[in-house]
C-alpha cells in the first residue's frame, strides 16, 4: 500500500497536516469559483450576493476541514445520535416549519436551516455505520432495517413537501445499500416493488408536484407555467453555443427569462455565458470528484469507509445529474441545487461536510497504515 504515501504530490505536506485531499479540494475550489462568477453575473453584479455566498463557502471549508480531522471511528459513534436528532428536527419542521410553498425551514432564531439538507449526509453515514460491523453481503434482515433507516426521513421530507430532496435522499440510501453488497436480484425486486408504489405516491403528491411531473412529459402543454422554465433554460443553453455569449452577456439569464438563475438554474446561467466549452470543464470537475471519491472508496480499508465514501461521492454526482438533467429536460423540474455552485447556505455547508467525511476516511487510513 505504498501508493498512500504520496509525498511527491503538491500540497502533500499541508494536505497531510490538515487531513485533506488536494485531488478533491482543487476541483471543488474551481467549481465554487465558477459558481461565484456565475452568481455575480446573473445577479447583474450584485457583490452583496457574492459575498454572502463566499461567506458560506468559507464556513463550508472550515466545516470540511474540521470534519476531516475527526477520526472515522468517531463519525461512527456520533452517527446514530445525529441521525435521531435530525429525525427529531424533521418532526419539528413538520409541526412548526416556516417557508413559502413548502415548509422546509426550521427557524432557530439565529440561523434558519433545512434539516432535510443534513439528512443528505446523515443517511449514508448512518447506513455505513450500521453496516460497519456486519458481515457483508448483508443478511435480508439487515437490508430491511437499512431500508427503514432510509424511508423514515424520506417520508418525513416528502410530507414537508419536498419531493426532490426526499427522492435524492432515497437515492443516496439506495446507493449505500447497494455498495454494502446487496444482491442485484434483491435490488431489482426492490425497484419493481417501488415502481408498484408509484400510483400511491402520485395520489399523495401535491397539485404543483403533479403539475411539474406532467409538464416534464409534455413541456409544450404549459409554455407559460412550469414548462416555461425548461423551455427558457434550453433556449439559454442553446443560445450560448460552443464558446458562450461571454461573461456578463447572458441575456436569457440576466433579463429574467431563466428563473432561479442563481440557485436551481445556475448551470443554465453558466452554460449560456461560457458555452459548451465551459460546460465541458465544469462537468469534468464533477466527474473527477466522483471518480476520486470512488477511488478512495476502493482503497478504503474497512466497510464503513468503503460504503461511506462510495455512497457520498456517488450521491454528489447524482445531485449533479439531477440538477443538470432538470435544466436540459432529462428530468422533471424538482428543485435540486447544483452542488458547490447554487446560491444557498445549508446545501453548501452539508456538501463541504460530505467532502470532509470522505477526506476523513481517506487521510486517517493513511496515517493508520504508516
Amino acid at each position: 500500500m505504498s501508493d498512500f504515501i504520496d509525498t511527491k504530490k503538491p500540497f502533500s505536506g499541508l494536505s497531510a497536516l490538515l487531513y485533506i485531499d488536494a485531488k478533491l479540494v482543487i476541483p471543488i475550489m474551481i467549481i465554487t469559483l465558477i459558481g461565484l462568477v456565475t452568481i455575480f453575473s446573473s445577479s447583474s453584479g450584485d457583490l452583496n450576493l457574492v459575498l454572502k455566498q463566499l461567506t458560506r463557502i468559507m464556513i463550508g471549508i472550515i466545516t470540511m476541514i474540521l470534519i476531516a480531522q475527526v477520526n472515522p471511528d468517531n463519525l461512527k459513534l456520533f452517527a446514530p445520535i445525529l441521525y435521531l436528532f435530525t429525525v427529531f428536527l424533521l418532526a419539528l419542521v413538520l409541526l412548526f416549519g416556516v417557508g413559502n410553498t413548502a415548509d422546509r425551514w426550521l427557524d432557530l432564531y439565529i440561523i434558519r436551516f433545512q434539516p432535510s439538507e443534513l439528512m443528505k449526509i446523515l443517511v449514508p453515514l448512518m447506513l455505513a455505520t450500521f453496516y460497519a460491523d456486519k458481515p457483508l453481503p448483508p443478511k435480508v434482515t439487515y437490508i430491511l432495517i437499512a431500508i427503514l433507516i432510509v424511508l423514515i426521513p424520506v417520508f418525513m421530507i416528502m410530507r414537508q413537501p419536498d419531493l426532490g430532496t426526499a427522492l435524492l435522499i432515497g437515492m443516496s440510501g439506495a446507493i449505500a445499500i447497494l455498495l454494502a453488497g446487496m444482491s442485484f436480484r434483491f435490488f431489482l425486486a426492490g425497484v419493481f416493488s417501488a415502481a408498484s408504489l408509484i400510483p400511491i405516491l402520485w395520489l399523495s403528491m401535491h397539485q404543483y408536484q403533479k403539475q411539474r411531473v406532467l409538464t416534464f412529459f409534455n413541456p409544450e402543454s404549459d409554455p407559460m407555467g412550469s414548462g416555461y422554465q425548461l423551455m427558457q433554460s434550453k433556449i439559454a443553453l442553446g443560445s450560448g453555443g460552443f464558446f458562450g455569449k461571454g461573461f456578463f452577456n447572458g441575456s436569457q439569464s440576466k433579463l429574467g427569462f431563466v428563473p432561479e438563475r442563481s440557485t436551481d438554474f445556475i448551470f443554465t446561467a453558466f452554460g449560456e455565458e461560457f458555452g459548451y466549452l465551459g460546460v465541458i470543464i465544469l462537468m469534468s470537475m464533477y466527474l473527477f470528484i466522483a471518480l476520486r471519491g470512488l477511488s478512495i472508496s476502493i482503497k478504503a480499508t474497512d466497510n464503513f469507509g468503503r460504503i461511506l465514501t462510495g455512497a457520498l461521492s456517488l450521491t454528489i454526482f447524482v445531485y449533479v445529474l439531477v440538477n443538470v438533467g432538470m435544466v436540459i429536460g432529462f428530468l422533471p423540474v424538482v428543485g435540486a441545487p447544483l452542488p458547490f455552485m447554487s446560491y444557498g447556505g445549508t446545501s453548501m455547508v452539508t456538501l463541504f461536510a460530505t467532502i470532509g467525511m470522505i477526506m476523513s476516511v481517506k487521510s486517517h487510513q493513511r496515517i493508520l497504515r504508516k
Partner: protein
C-alpha cells in the same frame, strides 16, 4: 495534533478489535474484492451517464445553437413601431379636410390590478361601463400577451379631466397619448374622402396599397385609400431590449418615422358643403367638374355618413344601423351608382345619328304621342300624350321628344349605337382616382346573348334610344360625357388630386393634366353645335325647353338636358312588392360660351328631371359663378 489523532485512532481500533472477534472480520479480503467490483461498476455507470449528458448538452448547445439563438433574440428583442404622422388633406383653397389630433387611450397596466372585481367596481364609479367595455376588458385581461388593458379609446383631455377629479378612487388608470385622424365636415365629404381604419387581412392581400412593417392604420376608402401610399409615410421603430416581465431595459436602435405627404384635392370645400346642405335630405349624387382640366370641384353622394365614427372603433350597432339604413348612406352613388340616364342620353344618341349620317339637322319625325314598331302589340309612348308634332333634332332635344329618338334609334340600330357610345366614355370606368368605380353598361347583342341567353329585340333598341332599358351609367360617366360636349371633344381624366407636398422639404408635385388629355374626334363641328344649341334651348327657350321655367342666373347662360328615368326596382323592404321609381337627372355645363364647369345631378326617386334635378344644378351654377372671383387654389 497529528500524534494525538494517531493515538486516538489506534486506541479506537484496539477497542473495536477487542469488542469484536477477529473471526467476524476474517472475511475482509472477500469484502474488499466484492466492494471493488461494485465500485468499478459504479465507475462505469458514472462515466456512461457523464457521456450521455455531454452528448445531450452538445445537441442543445452546439447542434441546435442557431435555433435557440433565434429564440433567445425573439425573447429579448421587441420591435416597437413608431407610427408616422399621416399627411394632411386640404381642399383646393387650403381648407383642412382631414388632419390628425392627439387623443388619449385610458389604459391600465395589468400587473397593477390586484383584484379584478374590485377594479371593475371602482372603474364603474369613474366611467360609464357598458356591456361592451366590460367584455373588452375581460378579453384583454385574459390575453396573456397584453401588458396593458385599454379601457376606453380616444378620449379627449376634457373627458379625462372629468374623470381626473375622482381619480383618487382608482389611481392606477392612466392616459396613453395617440394620434387620431379627424375629418372636418365628415358627412359632406364622406364618399370622396373615405376613412382610415385598422389594417385588416384584406389590406394585407391588396396589391394597391403598400403595407410597411409596423403600420397599424390604413386608408380604407376614397382618397384615403387611393393615396394611401402617399399619405401614410413610413413608420419608424424602436428596437428594444426587454426583460422577462416585458419591461424595457434599453433601446438598441431607433429609426425615425417618415411623415406622410400632405395632399391637396381639387375639391372646393365651400361648394361641396353648399351642395351637400342642399341635397342631404335626398338620395343621389352631384358632381361638379372643370371640363378644361378634369378637376372635380365637388363630388357629393348623398346622404353621407359621419366619417369620424369609423376612426374610433365603430360599434357593431352603429355599423349595422348604417348598413341597414334604407337610404343606404354607405353607397358612393357618384361612381358606383348605376342609373338609366333617361333623356340625358339623348344628346349623345343625337350626335351618333348625325355623325353616322342617319339624320341631319332637318330630318323631321312626326310625333303623335306614340311610336309603332313592327309587330309590337303596344306602341312606344312619348312622355307627351298629345305628341310633339313635326320635330327635328334640335326641337326634339329641347322638348325631349321620345318618338323622335325611337325613330332615330331604330334607324341607327343597336350595333352602331353601342359602338359609338363608348366614344363618350360610357360602358367604361372614367378612371377617376377612386377605387371601386363601376363601368355602367352599354347593352348589345353579344351582351344579351351572354347574360340572358336571348336574342336582341328591336324594341330594346328603342328603349336605349331614350336612355332606358338595359343601359346604365354612373353620374361620373355622365359628367365626363357632358364634358366632351362642352369642350368640343377635349376631355381629361377626372381627378380629385391637385397635388401633394412633402411637409418637410416643401417639395411639391402637381397633378399633370396634360398627361390625361383625350380627344374625341367629331367629324363636323356643326353637328356638335346643333346638339349644344339644343341643350341651350332646354334651359333658355321659354315655354319650349324642358328646364326653361327656372329663374335666370344674372349675366350667365348655361346649357343642359333633363332626364327622368323610369325604373322598375325591386323594393328591398319587407313587402317585396315592385315599386315604380322615377329618377330625376340633369346634365349641364356653364357658362354656355366658355364652359368652366360641368354639373351633373342625379336624384333617386326625385320625380321629373326638370322639376327636381335642374333647379339644383341651376343653384350650383349660380353659387359657383358668384364665388368664382374669390376662388384661388393653393396651386394657382
Amino acid at each position: 495534533m497529528k500524534t494525538k489523532a494517531r493515538k486516538d485512532s489506534i486506541r479506537k481500533r484496539k477497542n473495536i478489535e477487542e469488542k469484536y472477534s477477529w473471526d467476524r472480520l476474517s472475511d475482509s479480503d472477500h469484502e474488499r474484492k466484492s466492494h471493488k467490483a461494485r465500485a468499478l461498476i459504479a465507475t462505469v455507470i458514472v462515466i456512461s451517464l457523464f457521456l450521455l449528458y455531454m452528448v445531450k448538452l452538445y445537441r442543445v448547445q452546439v447542434s441546435d445553437h442557431e435555433y435557440y439563438s433565434v429564440k433567445s433574440d425573439s425573447n429579448r428583442i421587441r420591435i416597437r413601431p413608431i407610427q408616422a404622422t399621416r399627411g394632411i388633406i386640404y381642399d383646393r383653397k387650403g381648407s383642412i379636410l382631414a388632419d390628425n389630433i392627439s387623443t388619449f387611450n385610458l389604459i391600465v397596466k395589468k400587473e397593477l390590478i390586484k383584484d379584478k372585481k374590485d377594479f371593475l367596481k371602482k372603474l364603474g364609479l369613474l366611467v360609464n361601463l357598458d356591456k361592451n367595455i366590460i367584455e373588452s376588458i375581460e378579453k384583454q385581461y385574459k390575453n396573456r400577451r397584453l401588458k396593458d388593458i385599454t379601457i376606453i379609446e380616444d378620449i379627449t383631455l376634457d373627458d379625462y379631466s372629468k374623470i381626473a377629479v375622482d381619480q383618487y378612487i382608482l389611481p392606477i388608470i392612466e392616459l396613453s397619448p395617440k394620434s387620431k385622424r379627424r375629418y372636418n365636415f365628415p358627412e359632406s365629404i364622406s364618399h370622396l374622402m373615405g376613412y382610415v381604419g385598422k389594417v385588416s387581412n384584406n389590406d394585407l392581400d391588396s396589391s394597391v396599397v403598400k403595407i410597411h412593417e409596423g403600420m397599424t392604420e390604413i386608408g380604407k376608402l376614397g382618397v384615403e385609400r387611393f393615396y394611401q401610399n402617399i399619405l401614410s409615410g413610413q413608420p419608424g421603430f424602436e428596437k428594444l431590449e426587454t426583460d422577462a416581465k416585458g419591461e424595457v431595459i434599453r433601446i438598441l436602435e431607433t429609426k425615425e418615422p417618415i411623415r406622410g405627404r400632405d395632399v391637396v384635392l381639387t375639391i372646393d370645400l365651400e361648394l361641396q358643403n353648399f351642395i351637400y346642405e342642399k341635397v342631404k335630405k335626398k338620395e343621389g349624387a352631384v358632381i361638379v367638374m372643370n371640363p378644361n382640366n378634369g378637376d372635380v370641384l365637388a363630388f357629393v353622394s348623398f346622404p353621407g355618413y359621419d366619417l369620424n365614427l369609423f376612426t374610433k372603433s365603430i360599434s357593431n350597432q352603429q355599423y349595422t344601423d348604417l348598413l341597414n339604413d334604407i337610404r343606404r348612406p354607405l353607397i358612393n352613388r357618384a361612381t358606383t351608382g348605376q342609373y338609366p340616364p333617361g333623356s340625358t342620353l339623348k344628346p349623345f344618341i343625337g350626335m351618333i345619328a348625325l355623325e353616322q349620317g342617319i339624320i341631319d339637322a332637318n330630318k323631321h319625325v312626326n310625333c303623335d304621342g306614340a311610336y309603332e314598331l313592327g309587330n309590337h302589340k303596344r306602341p312606344f309612348r312619348c312622355w307627351k300624350k298629345d305628341g310633339h308634332g313635326d320635330a327635328n333634332l334640335s326641337y326634339a332635344l329641347t322638348q325631349s321628344c321620345d318618338v323622335f329618338f325611337y325613330r332615330v334609334a331604330e334607324l341607327t340600330g343597336i350595333d352602331s349605337i353601342s359602338e359609338h357610345l363608348y366614344k363618350y366614355g360610357f360602358g367604361e370606368r372614367t378612371y377617376i382616382d377612386l377605387y371601386g368605380e363601376k363601368s355602367g353598361l352599354i347593352p348589345d347583342r353579344k351582351w344579351k346573348l351572354k347574360t340572358k341567353a336571348l336574342p336582341w329585340y328591336p324594341g330594346e333598341t328603342l328603349n336605349v334610344g331614350i336612355g332606358q332599358g338595359y343601359f346604365l351609367a354612373t353620374p361620373m360617366q355622365l359628367t365626363l360625357a357632358t364634358a366632351s360636349l362642352a369642350t368640343n371633344g377635349e376631355t381629361y381624366t377626372p381627378h380629385l388630386l391637385l397635388g401633394d407636398k412633402n411637409n418637410k422639404t416643401n417639395e411639391i408635385s402637381v397633378y399633370k393634366h396634360k398627361n390625361n388629355k383625350f380627344s374625341t374626334l367629331f367629324k363636323h363641328p356643326d353637328y356638335l353645335e346643333i346638339v349644344k344649341h339644343a341643350m341651350w334651348r332646354v334651359v333658355n327657350e321659354k315655354r319650349v325647353g324642358t328646364a326653361s321655367s327656372m329663374k335666370k342666373i344674372r349675366n350667365i347662360e348655361f346649357a343642359g338636358k333633363t332626364g327622368t328615368a323610369q325604373v322598375y326596382n325591386l323594393d328591398k323592404g319587407k313587402t317585396g312588392t315592385k315599386r315604380l321609381q322615377d329618377h330625376a337627372l340633369f346634365i349641364s355645363y356653364a357658362p354656355f360660351e366658355l364652359p368652366e364647369i360641368v354639373v351633373t345631378v342625379v336624384v333617386e326617386n326625385g320625380g321629373g328631371g326638370s322639376a327636381t334635378a335642374a333647379p339644383i344644378a341651376r343653384d350650383i351654377i349660380e353659387y359657383y359663378m358668384d364665388k368664382k372671383s374669390t376662388s384661388v387654389s393653393m396651386y394657382e
